[in-house]
């Protein structure tokens, strides 16, 4: 093990330029992938923010007794899809309308009676904020005798659904493309390091080193390069993220950076790419010579 470590570090000392190039290749490849992941992450966050607004409103018949509404609210709250049920009385509805719809404020003031019905506002649990779930809940609500009408902004919810589906397919495909390009660049860089040391490998074989012994230092060297490349990518991502945020100013919804677990995954991914890339490259070389 000591020998493997020594040989791996010797490789860095002997070809610092090439080692730096390999680290940079891994770093920049992971950086572009990471930057893309950040965009995808925040885009998904924004879509989820939109989905939070999916709400179903059941307008109640006039003169429905409050007890009936209370009992029905409890039933509705027990639906598996439902997060919370909020009763809005006719008076409250009028007050809200006067506050929120400024242009009609005067018109509402002159009314002798309240034209607005009472309603139940229903918010759905995150997993059920889709068109299908909203429709199912709306249909069930329409079944209550005291419910006059149910609205949930069907078109809007369906659009949101489509957008989310499209986003996840596009994100997945672009993500895969980025990862493939990153692995190709890293693979080529590692291959160059192996070829650069072909003479040394030949001598190791000449004096009776086993293939496993020859692989050891290369694999360790690849893993170290992977870790360094991963760190470089994280620093670059953080710098890019900070600059982007500063350029946009403060009027943007909360953009978020990677969580600690994401950071660890990126670092591990870098290590794994370095390690496997080296293992494959040196394996191919050993088979060819």
């Amino acid at each position: 093990m000591r020998l493997v470590t020594r040989e791996a570090f010797r490789a860095f000392r002997r070809a610092p330029g090439l080692s730096a190039l390999a680290v940079a290749a891994i770093g920049f490849s992971l950086f572009t992938t990471g930057l893309y992941a950040l965009v995808a992450l925040n885009f998904r966050g924004a879509l989820e923010g939109l989905a939070e607004r999916v709400e179903i409103v059941a307008f109640l018949m006039r003169g429905t007794p409050p007890e009936t509404v209370t009992l029905a609210s409890q039933d509705i709250a027990a639906f598996p899809e439902v997060l919370e049920v909020n009763y809005v009385s006719a008076e409250e509805a009028l007050k809200r309308a006067q506050q929120e719809l400024e242009e009609f404020r005067e018109a509402y003031k002159e009314l002798s009676s309240n034209p607005l019905p009472a309603s139940l506002e229903i918010r759905l649990k995150p997993a059920y904020r889709s068109a299908a779930a909203a429709r199912a809940v709306a249909d069930r609500l329409a079944g209550f005798a005291f419910v006059d009408d149910v609205r949930y902004g069907r078109e809007w919810v369906e659009r949101l659904d489509q957008l989310r589906r499209l986003a996840s397919v596009v994100q997945f495909m672009i993500g895969i493309a980025f990862a493939i390009v990153a692995m190709a660049i890293i693979g080529v860089t590692i291959r160059i390091t192996v070829l650069q040391r072909a003479g040394e490998i030949a001598i190791m074989r000449l004096v009776g080193a086993t293939n496993n012994f020859i692989r050891g230092p290369f694999v360790l060297e690849g893993a170290i390069k992977g870790v360094l490349g991963g760190l470089l990518a994280l620093v670059l991502c953080w710098a890019g993220f900070t600059l982007f945020k500063a350029a946009l100013g403060t009027d943007l919804p909360d953009l978020r950076f990677f969580r600690p677990l994401d950071l660890l995954v990126i670092l591990l991914f870098g290590t794994l790419i370095g390690l496997l890339g080296s293992l494959l490259s040196v394996g191919r070389h050993l088979k060819a010579v």
């Binding site: 020998l3 010797r10 002997r14 003479g199 040394e200 030949a202 001598i203 190791m204 074989r205 000449l206 004096v207 009776g208 080193a209 086993t210 293939n211 012994f213």
Partner: protein, 229 residues
Amino acid sequence: MIRFSHVTKIWPNGAPALRDISFHVPKGQFVFLTGHSGAGKSSILSLISAHERPTEGDVRVANLSLRTLRQGEVPKLRRRLGIVFQDFRLLDDRTTDENVAFALEVTGAPRAAIPGRVMRVLTQVGLASKARSYPKELSGGEQQRVAIARALVNDPPILLADEPTGNLDERATRSVFQLLRDINASGTSVIMATHNMELVRGTTYRNLELKQGQMVYDSQDEPLVEMAE
């Protein structure tokens, strides 16, 4: 120690390298392989070191048969051989003693024993004082001595030398050749491929001459039929 039995080697492109070669090198013998370029000298050394496998026939080296030797066992065979080349093949970024120690390290020799064995073999080749020099700081003859020290440090019973004096001036040639003779005198079999007929004529060592992949002369003059046993 080394036995070729009706060995034929055809390259993948169909060109023949060796045709029906049979000979036996007993323990401790010094053998010259001579012939023009392309006659098959290096092919014979490549077969002995299992860099190549015979197309037909069998090669036995230190009780290992190339016909049954698995690829994973090749390092086992190489550890019974020392090999030196015309171009030395030293690692430029390592000092003399590191180059020699490398051969011990990769074969998993106990760490504590390495410095002693390295100095012993460097003394044997007359380079103890250059232990900390890099290859670039050494003359061609000295570099070849380092390569020989590296080949010997594992105490192999066989030393293969492929044109070891090909890149050296006359004086260095004589001293390297004398070193090989000393090594042989201590019991190691030496197989040396060379163009230098002066070296061959100046000794009584056995000479195997090759021409276009066939053995045309064996100074030991053994009838070929007997060797096929």
